[in-house]
């Protein structure tokens, strides 16, 4: 169970102060699949980063409380939160020269994985194993490949909360359809695992148990796909697109 209370995040900018997150209050029950969506710059990524502890202290001021399974996260670093079972899929995962896919997956798993364990993880994200085991995580990997390996690092860990920041960004359409399939399977197989995905994509939004709409740093709507999606689609027509566009078509 994730409980966020009165979460505010303020940064200093040239005009003085800017409120990135405004009084966010949010409970997400264990095992839920939640999609956070909203226009660019609305604070979605900041909210996700605040949960993982990825906002550097010097960047601004964060107030409020985030509890995970009853434990207060404020004051805990990234490592501490990770060890509580929280994981984070980066929008733009970093590359590691010299490090092989198997090395990264073993780090994620916290033990040296056997070949068949690597294979199981990579096949879950639709990568043909033999081609990837010894590949280095460098510029030779495409954006889509890197993104799928990023998801595999989350699957390799025994976690109870998975946060994905725009998993569709930077990947091609073909990889994207595989990706939605992957999320569907994770949700089906890991029933206790909470999944939070930040996304603009209708196909990912449609997978959710609940949609949270964020706008100008605040939660403006929560509800089921049936309740919220029509609202988004209406806005999309009247106020230009904020759905779509993230996938390189």
């Amino acid at each position: 169970m994730l409980e966020i209370r009165n979460l505010n995040y303020t940064v200093k900018d040239e005009r003085g102060k800017a409120d990135i997150l405004k009084n966010i209050n949010l409970d997400i029950e264990a095992g839920k699949f939640v999609v956070i969506t909203g226009p660019n710059g609305s604070g979605k990524t900041s909210l996700a980063k605040a949960i993982m502890g990825l906002i550097p202290g010097e960047s601004g001021e964060i107030t409020g409380s985030i509890k995970y399974n009853g434990q207060e996260l404020t004051g805990l670093g990234v490592t501490g939160r990770a060890r509580l079972g929280i994981s984070y899929g980066f929008q733009q995962p970093p590359r590691f020269k010299g490090m092989q896919v198997t090395d990264l997956l073993s780090i994620a798993a916290g033990k040296i994985l056997k070949r068949d364990e690597h294979c199981a993880l990579l096949s879950q994200v639709g990568l043909c194993t033999d081609d990837y085991l010894k590949r280095e995580i460098d510029t030779s990997l495409s954006g889509g490949e890197l993104k799928r390996i990023e998801i595999a690092t989350l699957l390799a860990r025994d976690v109870s909360l998975m946060i994905f920041d725009e998993p569709e960004a930077g990947i091609d359409l073909w990889s994207f359809s595989k990706l939605t399939e992957t999320f569907k399977i994770i949700h089906k197989q890991k029933k206790e695992t909470t999944i939070i995905i930040i996304s603009h994509q209708e196909r990912i939004i449609k997978l959710a148990d609940e949609i949270i709409l964020v706008s100008a740093g605040a939660i403006t709507k929560r509800g089921s796909v049936e309740e919220v999606l029509p609202l988004i689609m209406n806005e999309t027509v009247s106020d230009c697109v904020y759905l779509g566009g993230a996938v390189n078509e």
Binding site: V78, T79, A82, R83, F90, P94, K97, I107, G110
Partner: protein
């Protein structure tokens, strides 16, 4: 062998005891032990310190280990080892030097390894340098490697210096005839006030010769590194030089790859990059449950793998 010697041997040759096949273990300037085989003969030089290693043509799947151990503080040496690799052979050669300096005087190993590769001969040459010991005396190693390659021969050269060498000046020179292939991987880590200079001259003389040089280094603390890999294309050839360095703390790194073409069909590329560990790399590994220190260590060990 005592524990110090055994550890040096493990560090520079991955050996727990005397190796299989041909070997020559040199310790503080004297022969510790040696074994020749039917195909690989090791002979002491008569005119200067060092050995000749003669590998018969057609020798395949054999190895030669020639580690050098220095455990005496203040000991300095200059060694000349010549390798004559017969035609069509395919062998592994593991050299390397480990210095344990527990005293206050400088211990130094300088060596010139000269290889003569016969036609279509293939070798993998591994050279590891390692220093340890709590003494204040410096540990210095200055290796020179000279390789003359006949047609169609191949060398894969892997040099590794990860720890404990205060000062090193390395020079590698390779002359490649037609159809030769060269793969050099250099891995270097310096720390404290260490200095390292690595110069390389690869001459692609023959048609169809190819060279790849991959240099990866990590400079920590106050250490300084300089790289001068130079590849010269004298014919229809291919050369690629790639230098990557991670810089940390107050270290200094200079990287000056040079490619020069003396032939219209010479295709030469160089890349060089120096940078610190990226913040998002650390954060990614921390989201996997590693501490910042553990993350840094994993990034460096992956980079120098």
């Amino acid at each position: 062998m005592n524990d110090i010697e055994k550890n040096l041997l493990l560090q520079v040759a991955d050996l727990h005891d005397v190796p299989m096949g041909a070997y020559n273990i040199r310790e503080d300037g004297a022969l510790h032990s040696r074994q020749s085989t039917e195909s690989i003969e090791i002979i002491t030089k008569k005119d200067k310190p060092g050995i000749d290693i003669r590998i018969k043509p057609g020798t395949k799947n054999e190895s030669v280990h020639i580690p050098v151990l220095i455990t005496r503080t203040g000991y300095s040496e200059m060694v000349y080892n010549d390798f004559f690799i017969g035609e069509d052979s395919d062998v592994l050669i593991v050299a390397g030097c480990g210095i344990h300096n527990g005293g206050c005087e400088t211990s130094q190993h300088d060596g010139i390894h000269t290889f003569y590769l016969g036609k279509n001969a293939r070798i993998k040459y591994v050279e590891k340098h390692y220093g340890e010991g709590s003494g204040t005396g410096e540990r210095i190693m200055n290796p020179q490697t000279v390789v003359y390659m006949e047609e169609g021969s191949y060398i894969e050269m892997e040099t590794v210096q990860i720890k404990g060498v205060d000062s090193t000046k390395r020079h590698t020179k390779i002359e490649a005839a037609a159809g030769c292939e060269i793969l050099i991987t250099e891995k270097l880590m310096t720390h404290d006030k260490q200095t390292a200079v690595s110069e390389m001259d690869v001459l692609l003389e023959g048609e169809g010769s190819r060279a790849r040089v991959i240099s990866r280094s990590v400079a920590q603390d106050e250490s300084e590194q300089t790289f001068y890999p130079r590849v010269k294309g004298m014919s229809d050839c291919f050369g690629h030089v790639q230098c990557d360095s991670i810089i940390m703390h107050n270290a200094k790194v200079r990287s000056i790859p040079e490619i020069s073409a003396n032939h219209v069909n010479a295709q030469l590329i160089h890349e060089a990059a120096i940078g610190k560990i990226a913040g998002d790399q650390l954060l990614k590994l921390m989201t996997l449950g590693l501490s910042e220190e553990e993350a840094e260590e994993r990034i460096l060990s992956g980079f120098l793998k």
